[in-house]
Symmetry: C2
Subunit: 331 residues, 2 copies
């Protein structure tokens, strides 16, 4: 079932920008699909799109309210229910990437049924997965991995897709999370798959392809994140990447959601990722480091990139400042 | 809902002994709960219990038919349906550790409803899990890890529980798979949890405890198994083990179900397990190697254990030949 566009992005009471990463991802990569954002009191996030209410969004042609907030575990706070039911009543469909199914929230299901609206659960694929087989597949694969969650893995894969296509290369972004699925209009939310089938789902996402075709696979979590490392590793083995790109946010002081866990050293992170990835692709190598320098000045960003590039002997860049060509030059 | 004992163990047409590992696990550790085994033509497995039909099992007091076969992905072959429905009709409840829910198989659900029997899905916990938090917990934890699937992780944890209890130590086996849950009558099938919640489920399984209490956590899969490494890693991070015991089957020629993947070198396997486990417990160490020597003669087993013990500088033993005391001596 296709999710009808354009979208009104729902930010709820997201406490900070990272909590609204589904909304900002769509706004950054598919702004032409969005009429604006809907925020509740206390919201600390901003996509940069204009604030509109449901009535105005409808006048602008909106068809679907997209829940653009993620939280640990992907649950739906009660504080959102009234605003969401109101949007359904006024005429919008609803799309969500939360773990819980929309139809399992009685008020929301009732409003959808009463007003004849569609509910889209992005984390619940109709696809039936099996266990991974670990067989080598044709075509080339690049997986973005991270020092942490929410540090640029999706943006990096999308930027590499853009740069490869600009060079006339065959390249497809492979979405593994709800935001990526909304942007690519295909993929699977790998963290919502039954644990036994993680790598099988990743194999399904990136099947045999032309020898010169690149699948640019959106990584999830981090091998250094105590909550999500299992998902990261299962995805890695299903992806069987030829290349890794390590994504990093240099101002983060601890792992996202885990104040007692420090951000790993970049060299340690590269070593552990390669050590694990060699299981399904002994020829895997680290292409470079993609740094989210949005919190740094131009000068500080340039200094930081030069410093870690010298230390790691790898190309290090910010794909949002000038694109991913600096990585492709080292293919 | 309690699963009523005693059991009739259903082996179906399991092609080999390993495929019937749920049945053999129950027969080996809880023989007093079993009245016999039920096998279909072509079955290549044998628990050592006597073959009985449903009528005889009922005369022996059987209350529940336990599906004792696992297959990759945990699906139910059509060839089993008639025998299972017949058992329900004659008076047995049914318990299964397959991924699919019993009530979703129309013929089985219909027979259960018609005859008033209970269906138990061991892989589907009523428990709602959340993401792992990575917080240090009180008490001590030992996790069994493997060079491969089905190589002795459950038996090793159970043997260590037995040896610790014999010494008067506080120790509990923590089941993470359907067979373990049947043996322990508690636990959770970790491979059936939503991927995002693997480590959270493992944290739930092994909560805070007395400082001198050991949770002996049944490992799953292997960090070297392309299909299941994500589950193994998520379980490891939720377990936060103080000690690892590496389990190994020395006559295996390739990874279970993956003929194109060799069994890893023991030293490499120890190194990668420790490298990953240090994330959530920097003090983790490898206690020893538990070798399933059932395919070797006494002399060959002794030679093999002496050889790898010298090479790895670790205690190496077969817990099914003399118990786990040789590990406890190195605590």
């Amino acid at each position: 079932m296709t999710i009808e566009k354009p979208y009104l992005l729902f930010l709820g009471d997201a406490p900070d920008q990272l909590a609204a990463k589904t909304a900002t991802g769509i706004a950054d990569w598919r702004p032409e699909w969005c009429v604006g954002q809907l925020r509740l009191p206390g919201c600390g996030a901003d996509t940069g799109l204009k604030d509109v209410d449901v009535a105005e969004a409808l006048r602008l042609g909106a068809k679907t309210l997209v829940i653009g907030v993620v939280n640990s575990g992907g649950f739906m706070p009660d504080t959102w229910t009234d605003a969401i039911c109101d949007a359904l009543a006024q005429g919008l469909d609803l799309a969500s990437g939360l773990h819980g199914r929309l139809q399992d929230f009685p008020a929301i299901n009732e409003a959808a049924v009463k007003h004849g609206r569609n509910l889209h659960d992005l984390r619940h694929s109709e696809q039936e997965f099996t266990t991974g087989k670990g067989q080598k597949r044709t075509g080339k694969r690049l997986l973005t991995v991270g020092t942490d969650c929410s540090c640029g893995k999706k943006y990096t894969a999308l930027a590499i897709e853009k740069a490869m296509r600009a060079r006339g290369m065959k390249a497809d972004f492979c979405a593994t999370g709800q935001t990526g699925v909304l942007i690519a209009e295909r993929g699977a939310a790998i963290d919502a798959v039954i644990a036994d089938f993680i790598s099988g789902a990743a194999e399904w996402l990136s099947p045999d392809n032309d020898a010169d075709h690149w699948d640019l696979i959106e990584g999830q979590g981090s091998l250094f994140h105590a909550s999500y490392a299992g998902v990261s590793l299962g995805l890695m083995h299903g992806a069987q990447p030829d290349l890794l790109v390590l994504c990093h946010e240099p101002t983060r002081t601890h792992m996202r959601g885990l104040p007692h866990y420090p951000i790993p050293d970049l060299a340690d992170c590269i070593a552990l990722n390669l050590a694990n990835a060699r299981l399904t692709n002994p020829a895997v190598r680290m292409l470079g480091v993609s740094v989210n320098t949005s919190a740094l000045s131009d000068a500080a960003a340039a200094d930081y990139l030069a410093e870690i590039s010298a230390k790691l002997s790898l190309p290090c860049l910010d794909v949002m400042r000038g694109g991913a060509d600096g990585l492709l030059d080292h293919l």
